[in-house]
């Protein structure tokens, strides 16, 4: 990708994020857009976001692929891995070669390797004292992420975080917690909706999610809104 079109695309990504924030949005839609932006614009093969739930456990809420190995890997990471470390230390964790230091996180490393992942870069979603989760960028090759991509990823993550934290006043910690908890509960309905579409359209869970997103976009609805209609069987895809 040449530098100019890349800058333009990044500019577009920020504009889209800003538009979403101004227009009012669904947290999950925002985060899904964010991982897709990272995947499309940066030199990474997959991306995902984990948010902390009420008991401070990290849960996968957005990912560029539904491949169970990817999701499972990130979830293992939430128990012991670079994402958890990133969340706890509230600092970037870069793992340029997952084989080095794999003994620290044996389950995570083994699953990551099985998914073809060789390096991981985890960025905290944080604003001052509040950390709400992590953005994880995965590559199928070893090595550090290039400085350009690091800056872009950090900026995308920061804009999304500020947006989420601004939506509700950040002084009101309990409302923020409610909002994030709501995003996590919406996730339940979205997972159920994937199952509904996988069954009714006889497609894979991954393809089902693509159909749901397509529908949400073309009807300017939120993912959770569409998911609720699918689960209550008021909508068929």
């Amino acid at each position: 990708m040449n530098e100019i079109s890349r800058s333009e695309q990044l500019f577009d990504a920020f504009t889209t994020l800003a538009d979403t924030l101004v227009a009012g949005y669904d947290v999950l839609d925002l985060l899904q857009t964010l991982v897709e932006n990272c995947h499309d614009l940066l030199d990474v093969d997959s991306a995902g976001i984990l948010l902390a739930n009420a008991t401070d456990e990290l849960e996968v809420v957005a990912s560029t692929s539904e491949a169970t190995t990817l999701v499972e890997m990130m979830q293992l990471d939430a128990d012991a891995g670079p994402c958890l470390e990133c969340f706890r230390t509230r600092a970037v964790v870069s793992v340029p070669d997952i084989d080095i230091g794999s003994s620290r996180w044996p389950n995570f490393s083994a699953t990551a390797r099985a998914a073809g992942i060789r390096s991981v870069y985890a960025i905290p979603l944080r604003l001052r004292e509040t950390t709400i989760g992590t953005l994880n960028l995965m590559r199928n090759t070893c090595g550090e992420l290039n400085p350009h991509d690091i800056r872009a990823a950090q900026a995308l993550a920061d804009v999304a975080t500020v947006g989420i934290l601004q939506e509700r006043s950040i002084r009101d910690a309990s409302r923020l917690r409610d909002q994030l908890q709501e995003a996590l509960s919406s996730r339940i309905v979205i997972e159920q909706a994937k199952g509904v579409v996988a069954e009714t359209a006889n497609v894979s869970v991954e393809a089902a999610f693509a159909l749901i997103r397509q529908h949400a976009r073309s009807h300017q609805s939120t993912l959770s809104g569409v998911a609720r209609q699918l689960v209550s069987r008021d909508l068929r895809l």
């Binding site: 999701v71 159920q192 199952g195 509904v196």
Partner: protein
């Protein structure tokens, strides 16, 4: 008692604080009967009287267990209510030993409603009246609705002791939610019923829910919708 409506009975049953041992009472209050009992038996749950409004209701249950025959057995096997509005004139029924045994109990009418959840046979509700009495079609329909509530309560109660979720990781929950979506589409049910269906399957096979969920997602098992009992009278 006339102001004890179907809705009041339904609310009383649905109250999460309600005790399992009190489940029979709302039936006796909203129907024109003398007493009610609820028991579990069949292939899924052990034979046990869960709730009885009075000693006679308890004996009606017990006799059927001892004799291995009676309206509650028929109701469960046929997946339909068994209605005997006037036992005094009834001579040739399919449970001769039970009829003889309850003679001294002075029972005029007896009704049994099956407790089912999908394909699972959970037990039955026995309702008796000392004088002959009929249940109007609307009352039968309402009793079926309440029976469905009781079935879910008993099933949840039976399963709650299990450690099926064994691993409660976020990843397992995700699989279970996806499988719940598939099953609710297969059954045409609510998400709650679909989840309970997966849980019940895990319980009966003594496997973690995650494994059953994975079987659903990978299409190794599927669930077929079953007609609810009494659909013919609706």
């Amino acid at each position: 008692m006339s102001n004890y409506s179907f809705q009041t009975a339904s609310d009383a049953l649905s109250d999460s604080r309600a005790l399992i041992s009190e489940l029979a009472h709302p039936f006796a209050r909203f129907l024109p009967i003398s007493g009610a009992s609820i028991s579990t038996f069949g292939s899924f749950l052990g034979a046990e009287t869960i709730s009885a409004t009075d000693a006679r209701a308890g004996r009606v249950d017990e006799l059927q267990f001892d004799l291995g025959e009676g309206p509650c057995w028929d109701a469960l096997m046929k997946r339909q209510p068994v209605l005997e509005p006037d036992l005094t004139t009834r001579s040739s029924v399919s449970w001769p030993a039970f009829l003889i045994a309850i003679r001294k109990e002075e029972i005029g009418a007896i009704f049994a409603f099956p407790l089912l959840f999908g394909p699972l046979q959970l037990g039955a509700i026995d309702l008796y009246s000392v004088v002959p009495v009929s249940l109007a079609p609307e009352q039968q329909r309402q009793t079926l609705v309440l029976s469905a509530i009781v079935s879910r309560i008993l099933l949840r109660h039976a399963i709650s002791g299990d450690d099926l979720s064994g691993d409660t990781s976020a990843y397992s929950r995700r699989l279970i939610h996806q499988a719940t979506g598939m099953v609710l589409a297969q059954l045409g049910s609510t998400a709650e019923d679909a989840h309970l269906t997966i849980q019940a399957r895990a319980h009966s096979e003594n496997r973690p829910m995650r494994e059953v969920a994975l079987d659903v997602i990978e299409r190794r098992i599927r669930f077929d919708p079953l007609a609810e009992p009494g659909e013919t009278i609706l």
